[in-house]
């Protein structure tokens, strides 16, 4: 049957793996392997020059660790039980890994070998000492470590690596001063990975005031919330007592108490110790797992669905905007086109009237019979020009209208303006102008008219001169007849000219009128056509846009809904995970017998 702590530890390892924390799982697996190992590792830790190595020496009553006035310990030294005293240097990548090489060295040369290997760039990661002692018999391993906070960070690092393997810790501080801030900090750090700590106050032989320091330290520990025994010792007295066999001195050194404490609290209570160690390690791992889950939960609550809802609101706002604007662009188009048509018609009328006035002026004097062809060409030219100008204006204006409508559109797009809004055959030619009837005034007609006119003159003057006795036909009457005949010919031709002119004017007016009616009709048609195609174009665009916006609004709405369900699902998951972790934590707590601090969460 496996121990209950093993189950809890295995569950915690599984939880770590499930939460994607292979690093934590790895650490816990290490711990598990070590807990199953019958050896009990007791780490001697502390700041430099507090007497750690001397403490180990005094505990086993043998100079196994090098002591010196300057920084001496550079690699962790493992002191364990062996039938015959032996020592070895271990090389390897790290003290946690399997050693790659063990070099046996004589016990009394261990210190010099360690420092020598350091000077030769060696990668000695630890020293091992075997010594026959009853204390170590039960599998106890004392690990002397380099001081924490030393100027060479490598020393400190190896101490912390060793800390991960420890079952119990002896925290060493000397009695010449109280625990400093950094020592308390270190102690707290140690407590997180190994809760079985005994604080050892060394060098009480040279500190006259050590009792006061003990009291103060107890107060410091209480304030820092550290529950650890504090034992004052003097290694110097112990070693001296061992040399002289002085029992009283040994008692005075404080070591009997320390050793009893080690046997009782560490060796005898190995299972209890295992529970506590596992509890603390598991608790710290679970705390690390809980933190992100809880953060996620609270972040979800805090952040909420605002983002998706904002997207939905935005989409709806844009649809409304589009609707509002599409009503507007239609009005704009209708208004502008009405304006355009009336403007264009006025312009055309103005132009044709000017032409008519010119025609009138021309035919006041000119004889249509003489230059009709020329006139026709001229009129045709003018009318064409007027039509072209007018039509060009129509095009300009209609493009301008298109732009204006486009502007009232809610979005800017490249294809907003239609490419072409005209048919190619907008303009049919107007029918050619009818030539007015021009009466011929031939010689015969002239002679006849002359004779008709001369008749009156001859008769009139013949009668008058007959009174004077002259015959009816005489020179005078003939002369007068000739005169009268000439005049009537002139009169006649004059009249004919006027008639011709009037006819020409009428013909021109008719033609211009025809042109006007035809062309203005064309223009209207064109304008209507333009309006229709613009309307179609923009309506299509608006529809497209509306569709897009509606789609995005729909997707936003969907997102909001999805988000809600997804979030609820995720929340449920997270809550469940948290519940599981809390449950696990409660098991850990019961394992530790209420030793682990509460997690501070409620599921």
């Amino acid at each position: 049957m496996s121990a209950p702590w093993l189950d809890v530890l295995d569950d915690t390892i599984r939880a770590c793996a499930a939460h994607n924390r292979p690093d934590l799982a790895e650490r816990l697996r290490d711990k598990r392997a070590r807990q199953l190992d019958p050896k009990l590792r007791v780490l001697v830790i502390g700041e430099p020059k507090q007497g750690k190595s001397q403490l180990v020496n005094a505990m086993v009553n043998a100079p196994v660790c090098a002591v010196g006035d300057d920084v001496t310990t550079t690699v962790p030294t493992f002191v364990q039980h062996a039938e015959t005293p032996s020592a070895a240097l271990v090389r390897g990548a790290s003290i946690a890994n399997t050693p790659t090489e063990r070099i046996p060295v004589p016990l009394d040369q261990l210190a010099s070998e360690v420092s020598a290997s350091r000077h030769h760039g060696g990668d000695v990661v630890r020293a091992e000492v075997g010594i026959p002692r009853a204390l170590l018999d039960s599998g106890l391993v004392l690990i002397d470590t380099p001081g924490v906070g030393d100027l060479r960070p490598a020393h400190t690092a190896s101490t912390f690596t060793a800390l991960l393997q420890a079952d119990a810790v002896l925290m060493v501080s000397d009695a010449t001063a109280e625990l400093t801030g950094s020592e308390l900090e270190l102690l707290k750090q140690v407590m997180t990975s190994c809760p079985n700590v005994i604080v050892v106050l060394t060098k009480i032989d040279i500190a006259a005031q050590w009792r006061r320091v003990v009291e103060r330290n107890r107060a410091h520990l209480a304030r820092a919330g550290v529950t650890a025994k504090l034992i004052p010792v003097s290694a110097a007295l112990r070693l001296r007592a061992a040399k002289t066999g002085d029992k009283a001195l040994n008692a005075e050194s404080g070591f009997p108490e320390l050793l009893a404490c080690v046997r009782q609290d560490i060796v005898a209570a190995a299972d209890q110790l295992a529970r506590r160690t596992v509890a603390v390690t598991a608790a710290s791992a679970i705390k690390q797992l809980v933190a992100p889950v809880r953060e996620e939960l609270s972040a979800r609550v805090a952040q909420g669905p605002e983002k998706t809802i904002a997207a939905l609101n935005e989409a709806q706002r844009r649809i409304d905007e589009l609707r509002r604007r599409s009503a507007r662009w239609q009005t704009v188009l209708a208004d502008e086109m009405a304006d355009l048509v009336s403007d264009i018609e006025y312009d055309l009328r103005d132009r044709t009237r000017k032409i008519m006035r010119e025609v009138d002026k021309t035919f006041e004097t000119a004889d249509p019979a003489l230059g009709w062809d020329k006139f026709e060409a001229w009129l045709e030219d003018n009318l064409t020009e007027a039509a072209t100008t007018n039509f060009a204006w129509l095009l300009d204006r209609s493009e301008w209208v298109a732009e204006k409508v486009a502007k009232s559109f809610p979005v800017a797009r490249d294809d907003l303006l239609p490419e072409s809004i005209f048919r190619d055959d907008v303009l049919d030619r107007v029918a050619p102008m009818d030539k007015p009837v021009i009466e011929k005034f031939g010689v015969m007609q002239k002679a006849f008219t002359g004779l008709k006119g001369s008749y009156g003159g001859v008769l009139m003057f013949g009668l008058a001169t007959s009174l004077a006795g002259m015959p009816l036909i005489n020179a005078i009457s003939l002369g007068a007849g000739a005169l009268f005949g000439g005049k009537s010919i002139i009169d006649e031709s004059d009249q004919r000219l006027r008639r011709r002119q009037a006819a020409a004017k009428a013909a021109a007016a008719r033609h211009v009128d025809d042109f006007f009616i035809k062309f203005s009709k064309d223009c209207r048609d064109a304008a209507r056509h333009i309006q229709r195609s613009l309307r179609n174009h923009f309506a299509t665009l608006a529809e497209e846009m509306q569709e897009t916006l509606l789609e995005s609004a729909r997707s936003a709405r969907r997102a909001v809904q999805d988000d809600n369900t997804e979030r609820e699902r995720r929340n449920r998951d997270a809550k469940r995970e948290l519940d599981d972790l809390v449950q696990l934590y409660q098991r850990v707590q019961s394992l530790a017998g209420g030793q682990a601090p509460p997690l501070g969460i409620s599921a």
Binding site: K49, D70, D150, A177, E178, D205
Partner: protein, 467 residues
């Protein structure tokens, strides 16, 4: 040959800085705050060097201060200034408070004061003002008031290194390096109070002097047994009598009782000595002190005068005083100039106005060109390893620019008292050699510039010797 930007002949750094302060007073005459500040700096200019004693809690700051003054002071818990004065008195702000006696210690009762000023008639304070800073005082606080710093530590810890690095990281410190002496205090506790603890401590100090992380941070490392030093300077007749009585015992007989402080004050003591007396001895001397003094008395230092001399020597107090002399009081002028320039710089930054641009330029010019500062900078560069010179040149350069002391004899490394012509020859010899180094094409630009600074130092010495 005088490099550009150098001060004119006969104009000392002190004159120059004083003139600058006067100019600043004219520019800022309408700002009462600035005037008060500048006047304060002018006054500080004439004072002795201010040395702050800083360090971690329980590192023995008050003890070292007491040892230097030669009078045991109980720590006040506040920043305490110790100045020379005709009679013992203390001030908190403007108010005078009495200096009391408690358990034989001088004691100022000012529980809530932030700063206490103690005037004490002492020869040691004549050219030195000591500032005992409370533990945990921020770096700016310590380095702002003081001209130089004694940093105390029991064993150099990373937090100590961090403190010193912060101090050296200050932009001002880079232009005009801070003078710091690292003190391994409580040296008597090394090796569990073994009788040779002090020589061991001195070796450790020597190792630190060579340690790459430590050298750039301080000018010197000294080991001091503070408790012993105080006791040495204040040993009383009855204490001496008691110690002599102890020493009269056979060594084997006494050793058992010197094993621990508890045993020393315990019952059934072989000599008729009141336990209270014994407790007093172990409190004042420490168990190590008692071990050492009895041994010394046995070795023949059997009068109080002889014993005191030995103890001052052995406790490292002598060495500490020497270091203070060489690195602080001998450099009073440059340290004061530096403090004044820094003070002026503060005003120029806080209240810029039309005239201050010119003043700022002057401050910069003096900092950059005054030879004393260049010496300090070269020293710092040599110690920090930023400038390296081949072979023995490095040590010689460091010595010539005053790394061991500013006296020409020390600078030249002469171990005897030379005659004037010997001195002149030595200076000329050094000057000639370093002039060659200054144009030596084998050296790089930085090294040649370092050599030029050494040449200037030699020229200064020559002027001094001829005068």
């Amino acid at each position: 040959m005088m490099p550009a930007g150098e001060l004119g002949p006969g104009v000392t750094l002190e004159d120059e800085v004083w003139a600058l302060l006067e100019d600043a007073l004219v520019v800022y005459r309408d700002s009462p705050r600035a005037v008060a500040w500048l006047r304060g700096h002018q006054a500080r200019f004439g004072e002795p060097v201010r040395v702050a004693v800083a360090g971690a809690p329980r590192s023995g700051k008050s003890t070292v201060v007491s040892a230097l003054i030669g009078e045991e002071f109980a720590p006040t818990g506040a920043t305490t200034w110790y100045q020379d004065g005709p009679q013992a008195k203390a001030h908190v702000g403007q108010y005078e408070v009495p200096v009391l006696r408690r358990d034989g210690k001088a004691f100022v009762d000012a529980p809530d004061a932030e700063r206490v000023t103690v005037e004490w008639p002492s020869r040691s304070l004549r050219d030195l003002t000591l500032i005992d800073t409370p533990a945990g005082a921020p770096v700016e606080h310590v380095y702002g008031e003081a001209d130089a710093v004694l940093y105390l530590t029991r064993h150099l810890h990373t937090t100590d290194v961090r403190f010193l690095q912060t101090a050296h990281d200050h932009p001002v410190a880079r232009i005009a390096p801070v003078n710091t002496v690292l003190v391994l205090s409580r040296a008597d506790e090394i090796g569990g109070g073994r009788i040779d603890a002090l020589s061991s401590a001195k070796q450790i100090a020597r190792r630190y002097r060579r340690e790459a992380t430590v050298t750039p941070l301080c000018q010197n490392v000294v080991a001091v047994a503070g408790l012993l030093a105080v006791a040495a300077r204040t040993v009383r007749a009855e204490e001496f009598t008691a110690l002599a009585a102890l020493a009269s015992l056979a060594r084997t007989e006494l050793d058992g009782h010197l094993l621990s402080a508890d045993r020393f004050v315990g019952e059934d003591f072989p000599v008729r000595l009141d336990p209270a007396v014994r407790r007093g001895l172990v409190d004042r001397f420490g168990i190590f002190g008692v071990r050492l003094t009895t041994t010394l008395i046995r070795q023949g230092f059997d009068t109080q005068v002889k014993l005191t001399g030995q103890l001052v020597q052995r406790s490292g107090l002598g060495e500490l005083r020497d270091s203070i002399g060489v690195y602080f009081t001998e450099r009073r002028e440059v340290l004061k100039a530096r403090a004044a320039l820094l003070g002026l710089d503060v005003v120029l930054r806080a209240e810029p106005r039309p005239g201050s641009v010119g003043l700022a330029a002057s401050v910069e010019r003096i900092l950059a060109s005054a030879h004393d500062f260049r010496e300090l900078r070269l020293l710092a560069a040599l110690q920090g390893g930023r400038t390296r010179l081949p072979g023995d040149l490095e040590a010689e350069a460091s010595r010539l620019v005053g790394g061991l002391g500013t006296n020409p004899v020390v600078r030249l490394g002469m171990e005897y008292e030379p005659t004037e012509s010997e001195l002149r020859h030595a200076v000329l010899d050094a000057l000639g050699r370093w002039r060659e180094h200054a144009v030596d094409p084998a050296l790089d630009h930085g090294q040649r510039r370092a050599a030029a600074v050494v040449v200037r130092s030699c020229e200064g010495m020559l002027a001094q010797v001829v005068a």
